[in-house]
Amino acid sequence: MKADPIGVATGNHYIDGDHACAEGAIAGGCRFLAGYPITPSTEVAERMAERFPFVGGQFIQMEDELASMAAVAGAAWTGVKAMTVTSGPGFSLMMENLGLATMMEVPCVLVNVQRGGPSTGLPTLTGQGDMMQARWGSHGDYELISLCPNSPQECFDLTITAFNLAETYRVPVLFMMDECVGHMTEKVVIPEADEIEIIPRKFYQGKKEDYRPYQFKGDGSVGPMIKAGEGYNIHVTGLTHDERGYPVINAEAQDKNVRHLVDKILLNEEKIRIIEEDQVEDADVVVISYGITSRVALKAVQDARAKGLKVGTMRLITVWPFPEKRIHELRDKVKAFVVPEINLGQIVLEVERCVSGKAKTILVPHAGGWVHDPNDILNAIEEGAK
């Protein structure tokens, strides 16, 4: 399906990542936003509040982020594409109802414009310290999808992708921006509506009595949804449940339900995966990065190549699910993986796990507040190439 032209601001824009994200959401079909203001993400909600009245969208500023995420989960069951947007402290408050949305398998998008943490941390300055929270932040076992854009253009493009992935896998998608990308202003080209591919919600077509809110087939597939208010009389719960949505409190039901939540993502990892690679095939060193750090790393990679080093890059656009199989393919060929990130070591742990000691893994940490000095990354590349 193509995008509804009403929501597509076709043309060349000079806007920041937050605004581009809002445009991407509207172009991507989002018509419900519940949020609570927090720097550096507020501009997303502000732009949506301004634009929604012209596109038939429903905006509400809730009393907090607990409420915002809960309202998104509720709204999604009425058939609308829904999202919320926040940053660190709000992301923490959203965790419980992110779990609810995960358990209820509602498609939705949660934008987190990352800032320095923990706690109130650095409200106005960048960070990438929520990457493990994106993976493990809510309690229990589950898998979600996380995307990391590195430019305002990608904030537009990938927000649409985020909505499409949410629909395809009936899952909350975490849009993990960072303050730099959110506040960086660049050219953003918004194409014509008929050039934008939209995945619509898959609605159930059969007899009302036969509808089941869930399908646990074990093959990574998900069942269709319905719209509340149309007589399906569904029951859905955050409790462990069967395919009817009814609570079942025992180990077997838990195994079926939770494995389904994990399988539908991990069995489809290669389909979900979006990574950008450059010169990895004959590389001695591969720099793995995401978000704003990928742009800083580029400078280090250019410098290293100028020195004659064989350096490849892998940019994680989908960070979760982690491209484990791809790392397996590369780990025997390279000497080292260099992982710069604006935290003291999060995604590097995942790289290390996948590399399993078959190559060196070198972290280039940064506690947040600014981006890396490219020389620090260059030094790590040189060390890795030894």
Binding site: F32, E63, A228, G229, Y246
Partner: protein
């Protein structure tokens, strides 16, 4: 001489009479495939469910357009037994979740059935803000004076001096007066009844369901297993007898004056029933005035 509790119950209980014999008198409204339910015998929650179904039937609303959301707790299991679009959300977030449903599909009337802890403690913020916005929701708060599901801890409505597992020597916090909280936060309909007043509760639920905006009904209900046992108040029937003898109907009561004291009189009634534009009515009014024809109201998915 006062009536026996059994007489009161048979006088008051209102079960809609089906024309055809049904497997269960409320078949079609109850998820009979989920019975038996989890509630203890003589618990007051079931009565509220009965009243809800009767109230829904009485309201004349199209059943498919009514949804119900619960939080977590014994009362929070209500959604799980109602044959409607029913959502069992997280502890305290029922009203926030319901806000999403109500805004997502503005043609629906969404009810919230949940406990005193769920609505007034962990969910207190959502409660006052949904009332402030006059969100189109009917809130039914089953107040059993304690956190029953987790074993009878003290909560925001536990009367002073009542015992609870986390107030083993008697509670010493000031409890909420929920109708006052609701009214002062902006609710357009506020009532308090006990689970003895089945017909009143039924009517209140019917009224709340058809009333646009934020309605609040507190239903005082027995938790015989925990609250009553710990306080040696007897069975559910004994509590019904207590309600009979101590509930005072006063529709004109000022909600500021209707605090509940431990085992004292309980003022019940319909305290507030007024008109005020809802959240969506206000939104539409402001945006149409400002944007004219350019404004496209949200019409649902």
């Amino acid at each position: 001489m006062s009536k026996t509790a059994e007489q009161i119950l048979s006088d008051e209980l209102l079960i809609p009479q089906p024309k055809e014999p049904l497997a269960h008198p409320m078949e079609g409204y109850l998820r009979t495939d989920r019975l038996p339910h989890i509630w203890c015998s003589t618990c007051g929650i079931g009565t509220v469910i009965t009243a809800f179904i009767a109230g829904l039937q009485k309201s004349g609303l199209e059943r498919d357009k009514v949804g119900v959301v619960s939080g977590i707790g014994c009362s929070g299991r209500a959604a799980g037994y109602l044959q409607l679009d029913s959502f069992h959300s997280t502890h305290g977030r029922a009203i926030a979740f319901a806000t999403g449903v109500a805004l997502g599909n503005p043609d629906m009337k969404v009810a919230v059935i949940s406990g005193d802890g769920d609505i007034a403690a962990i969910g207190g913020n959502h409660f006052i803000h949904a009332a402030r916005r006059n969100m189109n929701l009917a809130i039914i708060c089953i107040n059993n004076f304690n956190y029953a599901m987790t074993g009878g801890q003290a909560g925001p409505t536990t009367p002073e001096s009542a015992n609870a597992s986390t107030a083993p020597y008697g509670a010493y916090e000031y409890p909420f007066n929920l109708p006052f909280l609701a009214e002062s936060s902006g609710a357009v309909y506020v009532a308090r009844w006990t689970s003895l007043h089945v017909r009143r509760v039924t009517n209140a639920i019917a009224e709340a369901l058809v009333k646009p905006g934020f309605s609040f009904i507190e239903v005082i209900a027995p938790c015989p297993t925990l609250y009553a046992r710990r306080n040696r108040l007897g069975s559910g029937l004994d509590l019904m007898r207590f309600y009979h003898d101590n509930a005072v109907i006063d529709h004109n009561a000022d909600t500021r004056d209707i605090d509940i004291e431990y085992q004292k009189k309980i003022v019940v009634g319909k305290f507030v029933d007024k008109e005020k534009p809802t959240f969506l009515e206000n939104k539409d009014a402001v945006l149409s005035a400002k944007l004219g024809d350019k404004y496209i109201p949200y019409k649902g998915a």
